[in-house]
């Protein structure tokens, strides 16, 4: 049985490597800038959703306010760069650490709340942060921060002539998020989280410190999300509270995981690959944003998935019996 297990782990890694390699080759064939843009966003959301999945999928603490960490990452990078000349690479790390610390600090009061109460609290907290940033003049208030691009450079992580560097960075980010998840799946943390999700009191009786496990999940999840936010700031060169801390972002980080398979290794990736291009395409074909069709499509997908197939679409792709695939 152990052999089966190590084989499956190896297969997962190999599959990921193949996908990553294929993805890396795509830009050589696809030159259309518009399509490249969609690909960058898809990879970014895959990474973000994978990060969200760690706290909300594996550990079962459904956060609907993850935009907080995304925004913190974006703002930390932008502010450090614009006000203090700190390179985005350091800004990214700083953003990640700050987010992880705040996630743990918020965990103290929040993790005592169960289920819906926790989710609602996350919405409220993100909302407070949004309003505070909208009124924080030093950080640009509602107008946000404009990051002028001077010249293409990996040092300052800015590029105008091509989207490729952003693409490859996003690919690396998605791979890191996937690898972290893969590694955690077969670690004591992964087991603790799933136990806490399924039955916290049983988990306690088996010696698990429920609170600490949640904290760990929150910290890792927030850290990775913030890095995604930092990337986004450099990618779009302009951020404001509404665009990086708004509720729609919290939603957009959760949906790929829900669609693909919440609490699974591949779910967020699958969900992102389906959802993001779909969004962009509906937006351009139905004409202009604000017509709501993308919302209707999302919404229907979410309702259908949660009612008809709560385990997500990922099970459709496994060769063996979907239920067996989950167990070892």
């Amino acid at each position: 049985m152990d052999k089966d297990f190590t084989n499956r782990r190896r297969r997962e890694l190999v599959t990921a490597a193949i996908f990553a390699a294929l993805a890396a080759l795509v830009p050589l064939f696809v030159k259309d800038v518009y399509v490249q843009n969609i690909m960058v966003l898809t990879l970014m959301y895959a990474a973000l959703s994978q990060a969200w999945n760690i706290l909300s999928g594996y550990c079962g603490q459904i956060s609907l306010g993850h935009a907080l960490y995304f925004g913190l990452g974006a703002y930390t990078t932008a502010l450090l760069f614009m006000k203090f000349g700190v390179l985005p690479w350091f800004g990214m790390l700083a953003g990640g650490v700050i987010s992880a610390v705040i996630a743990m600090a918020l965990g103290y009061p929040c993790f005592r709340l169960g289920g819906h109460y926790f989710s609602i609290a996350t919405i409220v907290i993100a909302e407070i942060a949004l309003v505070l940033f909208q009124n924080w003049d030093w950080a640009g208030a509602a107008l946000g921060i404009d990051i002028p691009i001077r010249h293409d450079s990996w040092v300052t992580f800015q590029f105008t002539r091509s989207k490729l560097p952003y693409f490859y960075f996003a690919l690396v980010l998605a791979c890191i998020a996937w690898l972290v998840t893969w590694w955690l799946e077969d670690s004591k943390w992964g087991y603790w989280w799933r136990a806490v999700k399924d039955n916290p009191s049983a988990a306690e009786s088996l010696g698990i410190d429920v609170f600490n496990s949640k904290m760990g999940a929150a910290a890792v999840s927030a850290f990775l999300t913030a890095i995604g936010g930092s990337f986004y700031a450099q990618f779009v060169s302009y951020i404001d509270p509404e665009s990086v801390m708004g509720f729609q972002f919290s939603l957009l980080m959760a949906l790929p995981a829900v669609l693909g398979g919440i609490g699974t290794l591949w779910g967020p990736v699958l969900g992102a690959v389906i959802l993001i291009p779909l969004t962009e395409l509906t937006r351009s074909y139905i004409g202009g944003s604000g017509r709501g069709v993308d919302l209707i499509v999302y919404g229907l997908l979410i309702v259908l998935i949660s009612l008809a197939r709560p385990q997500g679409l990922v099970g459709l792709f496994s060769r063996s019996n979907p239920k067996k695939a989950v167990s070892r």
């Binding site: 004591k188 087991y191 799933r194 088996l206 698990i208 239920k323 067996k324």
Partner: protein, 243 residues
């Protein structure tokens, strides 16, 4: 025989209701002790107090020479108290072996070791063939066994069994009894709450009878069963033989 677990003057109140009153019991190393009594006697409360789910209103609990009264359940598990739940609480989304691995992680932080331990426990409890099955797909009797397996994986010194034999068919119950004996043979002390007298009495070394929150009688099963106080508690006055 050294004392492994001791409760001293445990009184537990739940907003006005006294569930346990001045309960002092002890369990010796290597014993199988049965905690019995009619409905509402306070067995579950005492059980949960020992497991750490509640903190007693008065009194103290001593385990392996240490005062564990204030310790939460997770800490008690690490000290060596394992427990099952009356209403089975398996990790439904995980497989049988993954469930047991969760337990094994207390003492085996390296994944390979935890897996190995989990395999061992599955063999011991007869669930090896069902290792890859999702917990939600098990039949009730198997789920019970999984509860025990999971707790065993934590390598406890004391195993608290909450009505593990209730509601089983005679064959299943016999397998259960055998399992409990084998558990004790590995050196684990067992304290079991039970309802079904015919099954439990031949199994336990000592029986403690609770009634109305107090310890009524304790001693060898054969004696306890014939004690008029016990008969009265279960069946009412008219059945008492001699007072």
């Amino acid at each position: 025989m050294t004392v492994l677990l001791e409760t001293r003057g445990i009184t537990q109140r739940f907003s006005g209701l006294v569930a346990n009153s001045d309960v002092s019991i002890s369990v010796g190393r290597g014993e199988i002790v049965g905690l019995i009594g009619p409905n509402g006697a306070g067995k579950s409360t005492l059980f949960n107090l020992i497991a750490g789910v509640y903190t007693p209103s008065e009194g103290s609990i001593w385990f392996d020479g240490e005062d564990v009264t204030r310790l939460p359940p997770a800490a008690r598990c690490q000290r060596g108290i394992g427990r099952t739940f009356q209403v089975v609480k398996s990790f439904e989304s995980m497989s049988v072996i993954d469930n047991v691995i969760v337990g094994a992680l207390v003492r085996n932080t390296v994944m390979r070791e935890a897996r190995r331990k989990a395999h061992e426990v599955l063999e011991f409890t007869g669930l090896a063939a069902r290792a890859r099955v999702l917990a939600s797909d098990l039949v009730p009797a198997e789920k019970r066994r999984l509860e025990v397996a999971r707790a065993l994986a934590t390598e406890p010194k004391l195993l608290l069994l909450d009505e593990v034999l209730t509601g089983l068919t005679p064959t299943e119950a016999q397998t259960g009894v055998e399992l409990v004996r084998r558990v004790r043979d590995t050196g684990i002390t067992v304290l079991m709450v039970e309802h079904v007298m015919e099954i439990v009495m031949p199994l336990v070394d000592r029986a403690i009878v609770l009634d109305l929150g107090k310890v009524l009688v304790e001693g060898k099963p054969t004696e306890v069963v014939r004690d008029p106080k016990v008969i009265t508690a279960y069946l009412g006055d008219r059945h008492a033989v001699g007072a």
